[in-house]
Amino acid sequence: MDKRMSIDEVVERIPNGATVAIGGSSISRKPMALVRALARSDRRDLTVIVDVGGPDVDLLLGTGRVAEVIYAFVGFEVLGLAPHFRRARQSQAIRFQEWTEYTVMAGLDAKIKRIPFMPTHATLGTDVLRVNPSFREINDPFGEETLVAVPALKPDVALIHVNYADIQGNGVILGDGHVDVLCAKAAKETFMSCERILSSEELQRFGRDVQILRVYSRGVVEIPWGAHPTGCAPDYRTDLRHLQDYLKAASSEEGWRQYESEFVDVDHPQYLTNHGGPEELVSRLKV
């Protein structure tokens, strides 16, 4: 089955109010081209699930697409805090659920295994358990232990970006896998952008680096630089310059409007052109 589609076709499959899980980790391998398309769409009231969020969550908050965020972390790593996330948290503009890295994984895994919850000791003794409205304390049926029941997370859609894919929807991830496989398996529909589409034969040569299995993919979009400004190892490193500009832009209303018009409200080819084109990106970001 040929699952290739366009960026816009992916956005069309995401309704208002959808729960969207996003792969990658902070400033690494985020499906930013898909996220930008969603950010400039008129979708609203999305619930976003991330394990480790970054510019993805921040951008969707910045353009007002989000009603709730479920997260273990949202930040820009070495660059500091996520400006729209920080503002939204402080102004209580939307809902936030404080999870943790493993509990997000456990929640997705519970959905995959069709069980209502996964037990863990994680979050006991912390305030995450106090402020998270979804967790429950339970007792071990075999003994005396107190455990936390982490409920299943049920994304409607997963968005991930991979190095290579075939048209059938198998995907190769060469660097950190992050929680992409869990997102892909847990979501009702998974859409995957990739740096390059390869033949299925070429793809099979990657062996266990073929981490996304086609039975879980609904659509594949070939988008070179599709993770930019986050990194996509080993193809390109994180564009910390661009992210610095992002942070500066997000600090004023005018700056943000300017950023949006230049880097959000444009299609992907124009986005690359506004960075001086792929050649310029190669010279700065390929190692």
């Binding site: 400033i27 690494s28 394990d51 480790v52 997260y71 273990a72 972390f73 949202v74 930040g75 790593e77 070495v78 805090l81 996520a82 996330f85 920080r86 948290r89 402080q90 209580q92 404080e98 999870w99 943790t100 890295e101 493993y102 509990t103 994984m105 000791h121 994680a122 979050t123 006991l124 003794g125 912390t126 305030d127 995450v128 402020v131 304390e137 232990e145 107190t146 060469l174 660097g175 950190d176 896998g177 992050h178 929680v179 496989v181 070429e202 040569r205 990657f206 062996g207 680096d209 990194g231 190892a233 080993p234 490193r237 994180t238 910390l240 310059r241 610095q244 700065r284 390929k286 190692v287």
Partner: protein, 288 residues
């Protein structure tokens, strides 16, 4: 900050961090300080450590403190690729160590990276608890470092417990995950108080007890009798740190404001060239 003629405070801190690591465990190197401590430990103190290039990516490669968390080095040097499941399984089975750099730590060793002020209406929203709850419920040793010891970072009560310390936080937890060591720019602290409160273990060369008390948000114990002095880095420690971090990425963690921004840009420009020179890109596509 005390003046030291032959080594700087970051080198004292990193050396002290390195000397805490032991055994055959995965060691995260997600920050420059953590990365350099892991590298130094592996070279001099604990050869069986399995050092990770980034938290979940490659095992048994030499990590370098890069701005983008070493993701390229991982790939180019290969190493043994791990999954996030591998990382958390290593945490749950106590085969993992990490130096955590919290925004706040309190007298019981509770730690906060989530928010300043009340969670539901924070004065400053930070980043979320990330994987700290998992560490503080499962690891037999949990390590913290803070580079600017002050009453705002070493506090009586954290605003939010991202990580579980001693005392009340241990109610439903066993000893696993209890705080082991805090290293700051002033000294080394452990948790030998009656209810596991923080106590002074040693002070860095030139640091006084008064200074520590002044810069700590609660009355700190362990200052009775003779106080140990933190063993200084050796010439080998210093050499290895400087060789492993020629761009001085570690200095960024000590800075803020315009100086940090300037250094940041400087490192970012030089980093790529350094990577190119050190690890020429291998053109490979798939196996075999």
């Amino acid at each position: 900050m005390p003046l030291m003629s032959e080594f700087s405070v970051d080198e004292v801190i990193i050396t002290t961090m390195a000397r805490q690591l032991k055994g055959e465990v995965l060691v995260s190197s997600v920050t420059a300080f953590g990365s350099l401590a892991a590298h130094l430990a592996k070279r001099l103190y604990a050869p069986d450590l399995a050092v990770l290039s980034t938290p979940e990516s490659g095992m048994d490669v030499t990590p370098m403190p890069t701005l983008t968390l070493g993701q390229f080095l991982t790939d180019v040097q290969q190493g043994i690729p791990l999954t996030m499941e591998d990382i958390f399984d290593a945490i749950f089975t106590d085969h993992f160590r990490i130096w955590i750099n919290p925004s706040q730590i309190d007298q019981y060793g509770n730690t906060n990276i989530t928010c300043i002020g009340d969670w539901s209406r924070p004065k400053v929203a930070l980043v979320g608890a990330r994987g700290i709850p998992e560490d503080t419920s499962h690891l037999s040793e949990t390590f913290y470092y803070i580079l600017n010891h002050s009453p705002r970072s070493v506090v009586q009560h954290v605003d939010f417990r991202s990580g579980a310390g001693n005392g009340e936080s241990r109610q439903h937890l066993g000893p696993h995950g209890a705080p082991t060591t805090l290293v700051t720019d002033l000294g080394v602290f452990d948790f030998r108080g009656p209810q596991g409160q923080m106590t002074i273990k040693s002070l860095h060369p030139g640091v006084s007890l008064e200074e520590v008390q002044e810069r700590t948000g609660f009355p700190i114990g362990g200052g009775e009798g003779d106080i140990l002095s933190t063993p200084p880095p050796t010439a080998d420690d210093i050499r290895l740190i400087r060789e492993a971090d020629p761009l001085e990425v570690r200095k960024l963690e000590l800075m803020s404001g315009p100086m940090a921004a300037e250094k940041f840009v400087n490192i970012y420009e030089r980093e790529r060239q350094t990577l190119h020179a050190t690890y020429p890109r291998v053109g490979k596509l798939g196996r075999g």
